[in-house]
């Protein structure tokens, strides 16, 4: 194996990691906010599907992928508010409500999207930063992509700032740790949880739209193919921290790209084994970091998982 082939392999995996990790990253980033507010949204997969479908429909109708992206985000946010209605206002079981909404999204997007299967759209354009993109090896990987690639880091930074450097973030995290304490200190847990769900939904919708508007540029039923669940797992992997969600998303996307690049080079490793790689990585990280989980997990979530609410 020559140096050039090694280099092109690394380049292929790196740019593939970004392409296939971006949707999961946005969804996970949204879920960080939601879980920080004490809600587990197992319907995230549905939220992504709604974003992917709404975005594609609008792109197909208007021809403008940026308007489509906006609509996808709002659709994802609105979808999450339905979960809010169930689990905040009606105090329904979070896990069951999330899964139910997922199945609702399967059906809803299959119906609404039926006419758009097989349609062609203008996807999000590839942009590149002049000069920087010409840097050998690194340039094409880091300084070339669509708008969603360039906003990944700012989005994570923004969420970090919101959660850790604003009063709103402090209040939100308080709600996630203990609704009672938050209420006693004059906050409105319900309102804050609704806000968290809406923002989380915006990001989930963007994650879905990355698939339909940028990456695959098609709409097909259930095209998210489990990425929503991966995103939920990633939140734990990132131990509820927005910046670590980038690492998680890239690692996950990288594992997918890695196995496809290996296959394209006919490396003699079973693709079935390689397909397990992302999951094995997650389990490994959870095992290693598991000891600290109690410390990092928002206290409010323990009632969700342990059913003591």
């Amino acid at each position: 194996m020559t140096w050039a082939t090694v280099l092109s392999f690394i380049q292929g995996v790196a740019s593939g990691a970004i392409r296939s990790g971006a949707s999961i990253f946005y969804a996970a980033l949204g879920e960080v906010i939601v879980q920080r507010a004490g809600i587990v949204n197992l319907g995230l997969e549905g939220c992504m599907l709604v974003g992917a479908c709404a975005g594609f429909i609008v792109a197909s109708r208007t021809g403008n992928p940026y308007v489509a992206l906006l609509v996808a985000a709002v659709a994802g946010g609105a979808f999450n508010l339905v979960l809010g209605l169930l689990v905040i206002t009606r105090r329904a079981n979070q896990l069951a409500s999330g899964l139910t909404l997922l199945f609702l999204a399967y059906g809803l997007t299959s119906i609404l999207g039926a006419d758009y299967v097989g349609k062609r759209i203008n996807g999000l354009q590839q942009l590149s930063i002049p000069l920087l993109v010409d840097i050998p090896v690194v340039g094409p990987v880091l300084f070339q992509g669509d708008v969603l690639w360039f906003t990944m880091l700012p989005a994570a930074g923004c969420v970090w700032w919101l959660l850790y450097r604003t009063r709103w973030g402090l209040s939100l995290r308080t709600v996630g740790e203990s609704r009672v304490v938050a209420y006693a200190s004059g906050l409105s847990p319900r309102s804050l949880q609704y806000q968290a769900l809406f923002i989380g939904g915006l990001l989930g919708g963007v994650g879905g739209a990355q698939l339909s508007l940028s990456y695959a540029r098609v709409w097909i039923e259930q095209m998210t193919a489990g990425r929503g669940f991966i995103a939920v797992a990633l939140v734990i992997f990132a131990s509820w921290h927005p910046v670590r969600a980038i690492a998680g998303g890239l690692l996950f996307g990288g594992a997918i790209a890695f196995q496809l690049q290996l296959q394209a080079r006919n490396a003699s490793v079973s693709p079935f084994l390689l397909d397990m790689l992302p999951y094995v990585l997650t389990i490994a990280v959870l095992l290693i970091w598991g000891r600290n989980r109690q410390y990092q997990m928002p206290q409010g979530l323990s009632s969700v998982f342990e059913g003591t609410d």
Binding site: S15, A114, A216, I220, E221, A225, I256, A264, P271, D275
Partner: protein, 361 residues
Amino acid sequence: MRFRWFSLLSSAGIVAALFLTPAQAQTATLVVGALHVGSVNDNGYNQAMHEGLLNMQANLPGIRVIEAEQVPESADSERVMENMVAQGAKLVFPQSFGYLDPALNVAQRHPDVIFEHPAGYKQAANLGTFWSDTTSFEYLMGQVAGRTTKTNKLGWIIGFPIPNILTSINAFQLGALSVNPKAVTQVIVDNTWVDPAKEAEAVNALADNGVDVVTMIVDSPSTVIQTAEARGIMSMGFHCLCAQNAAGDHWLTGVGFTWGPLFTRMAQQVMDGTWKSTNDVGNLASGYAALAPYGPLVSEDTRALVDTSKATLISGELQVFRGPIYDNSGRLRVPDGQIANFEELLNSTDWLVQGATGQIS
């Protein structure tokens, strides 16, 4: 105008959508029902089936067609078929492999209704099966790819490495080799039928490695063809001639089912009372499938060569799987001068021919 309704299906919580055409006022000469596992505008398998039905309807005015999309391959499909029978369907096409057993159950309950199932391996007195061999077409596609490639590297993206798909790839590679001894085919296994994002990444991985012609067997060809177009590499379609809709200038050709004439004949026989249960498997000459129109990159010489090959394949002078055929580990799979048993190939192939590589186990 189409009328649509949906129902929340099955206690398992699966939500499926059905799209049914309305009952028309005038009495139809024949009511035909059809179940599809996906959407009928997927540029792929389901659309090919749907277009066959449309063609049948155009040929035999007065026929009413009831179609249901996205019907799961479960007991639900029995309910949908019963529903169609209740609406007066006398000919039902359960258009997906997994509907076979449910269709046999419904067929037993309704001996006066005729069923035609694609690729089925069991028949009943009122259930016939049909299919079309595509390997001759894939051989021709391989010739087009082998002659048009600049890098001599061809790529396939498949859902799962099952015997009939591996047979297709082998036919393709044999065709490519017949015109270009340097041609190699790399296979990528996606491990799912539907994951457009993964399909896109697979095309990228192949393109990164110098592959300049890709084709696929996954549910919908759209993503693979569009991504290939964006990467500036050539693509070929599968299942439906309409796959070309997703392509641009880098389209070469493809194979698509053309069921219209067969469905028309079946419906006519049902109306005449001459229908008989058979397993009707078409070949290159039957017209159940066709080579898709060529793209601009396919040269006149190549087109002429394909025409010649087609003629010799039809006459039987040329056989796709005539020995000696070696697999990619050098083992002799079809002895010199012998012609492989086709049934056996379709049911048990677990190897790739010389020049084709991929991790298929």
